[in-house]
């Protein structure tokens, strides 16, 4: 069996197939990157809306709350299909890839918003009070005091989520998006060994997600642990 698979390797890695896999890997990477970046930006904005104490922002706060609570409870595949068929019903002519971009961003925003909220709320209220009595504005207090202290708390779960999220993008294949899992299906249908094809895709998923996990670890260490790991001076 192994000899059969080994013999199939040169046949699988033809230029055409390598281009197919590379294109699929770029799509997976793009879906993940867009999901991560949009999730982080919109998730943070949504959290700020949710945590706002201004009365005038109450409707926005309620919307943010509903969005986060609902979207976190819906499976990614269901969201994807809802957008896919919803767009068709409403007469929009979006490609499956565009639908996948929107779906990943929508889901990622909800999850990241929740992680950012718990991180921001972990900063002691007394820190904010100290800033307040020293005449920091709400934004100055957020940028100078709250956010820098929240990042080390937010980053580990956010990067953990992003790594999981890369794997979730495989579900976009259900809408016909040519990402890694879909490429594996195509190659398998063409008669290549399923073991070889999926092992190749497995390696590609690892190559995409491992640097992200390392980056998360590095940032976490740099923003949080590094400062605290210095020898504590007793007085």
């Amino acid at each position: 069996m192994l000899a059969f698979i080994a013999a199939e390797i040169p046949r699988l890695f033809t230029i055409y197939n390598v281009i197919l896999l590379a294109k699929a890997a770029v799509t997976t990477l793009s879906l993940s990157a867009v999901g991560c970046v949009v999730g982080l930006l919109c998730g943070t904005l949504l959290t700020l809306a949710r945590m706002s104490r201004r009365r005038s922002l109450w409707p926005l706060k309620a919307l943010a709350f509903l969005y986060i609570e609902i979207m976190r409870r819906i499976p990614f595949l269901v969201t994807l299909m809802t957008f896919y068929f919803g767009a068709q019903v409403l007469g929009f002519n979006f490609s499956p890839l565009e639908i996948a971009f929107v779906s990943t961003s929508v889901i990622s925003t909800a999850f990241v918003a929740e992680i950012v909220r718990t991180g921001l709320q972990a900063v002691k209220a007394s820190q904010i009070e100290a800033a307040e009595v020293m005449n920091f504005s709400v934004w100055q207090s957020f940028w100078l005091v709250r956010l820098p202290q929240a990042w080390p708390i937010i980053l580990p779960p956010v990067f953990g989520y992003f790594v999981l999220f890369i794997k979730d993008t495989a579900l976009a294949s259900q809408a016909g998006v040519l990402e890694l899992t879909q490429a594996a299906k195509i190659l398998n249908t063409k008669g290549f060994s399923a073991s070889l094809v999926y092992a190749t895709v497995l390696l590609l998923y690892f190559v995409i997600s491992y640097p992200l996990a390392r980056l998360g670890g590095h940032l976490e260490k740099r923003l949080g642990t590094a400062r605290h790991s210095r020898s504590r001076r007793t007085v």
């Binding site: 820190q127 009070e129 100290a130 009595v133 020293m134 005449n135 100078l144 202290q149 400062r227 504590r232």
Partner: protein, 249 residues
């Protein structure tokens, strides 16, 4: 004219009245200490003065200007003139000692960075932390953190300094170093409103002492009057109990 003039101040947490008609006037350079049992409203009074809790009735005036707690500009002006040192220090955990002291004068008050840095270094030297400029709060002992908090408050050049139980979170051996720092301020004739359970210290530095209970000032007088000849039974019981404990300890 009093530097700080509090009249008929009433404050509530939800439905509970925590300050019930406080009248207190403090002159420039005067040191007034608030003593009393836990929950008597001492710390709450400092929170109300600094605008962390809005009063429901009464007025607070700083050098004749009444603070309108509902008006952001008025509150901002008042906060520019006073500083508070918290029981739990509340140093910014993401900033080193020097930045903790400099951040407000430079970033918020827009003062010249070099000038502020020179002042901050001098102040930290004065409180005995000139060698800890780059340390982060979690690398310092409680006493050191509290001294940084005092230096931070002083760098704001406040007209009046509010000190909220600044020694209560410290080990007994660290209390002395903070009290010595406050004595330095007292020697410089700074206006201080102190909440403290350190009776010997209160007696030593204060010009007047106010005994608080149930959200009101029950008795106000010189330290000798409050500690040696209290007029009301409540003060007498509190003082004798506290001093008795201290003696026994």
């Amino acid at each position: 004219m009093a530097q700080l003039d509090i009249r008929g101040l009433v404050a509530r947490y939800n439905d509970t009245t925590v300050l019930d008609g406080i009248d207190l006037a403090i002159d420039r350079g005067e040191i007034v200490s608030l003593i009393g049992p836990s929950g008597s409203g001492k710390s709450t009074l400092l929170r109300v003065i600094s605008g962390l809790l809005r009063p429901v009735k009464g007025t607070v005036s700083l050098a004749g200007e009444t603070i309108d707690y509902g008006d952001r500009r008025s509150l901002r002006r008042a906060r520019n003139r006073l500083a508070i040192v918290f029981q739990q220090y509340n140093l910014f955990g993401n900033m080193n000692v020097l930045r903790n002291v400099m951040v407000t004068p430079v970033t918020i008050k827009k003062r010249d960075r070099r000038e502020v840095e020179a002042e901050a270094r001098t102040l930290l030297e004065k409180v005995g932390l000139g060698d800890k400029l780059n340390a982060y709060p979690d690398e310092l002992s409680g006493g050191q953190q509290q001294r940084v908090a005092i230096a931070r408050a002083l760098c704001l050049k406040p007209e009046i300094l509010l000190l909220d139980e600044v020694t209560s979170a410290l080990d007994p051996e660290r209390v002395g170093e903070v009290l010595d720092t406050i004595k330095l301020l007292a020697a410089e004739h700074m206006t201080l409103l102190i909440v403290s359970h350190e009776m010997a210290f209160v007696r030593d530095v204060s010009h007047r002492v106010a005994f608080m209970a149930e959200g009101t000032i029950q008795e106000l007088g010189t330290p000798e009057q409050i500690f040696d000849a209290p007029r009301i039974a409540r003060t007498r019981t509190f003082v004798s109990r506290i001093l008795g404990h201290r003696t026994a300890a």
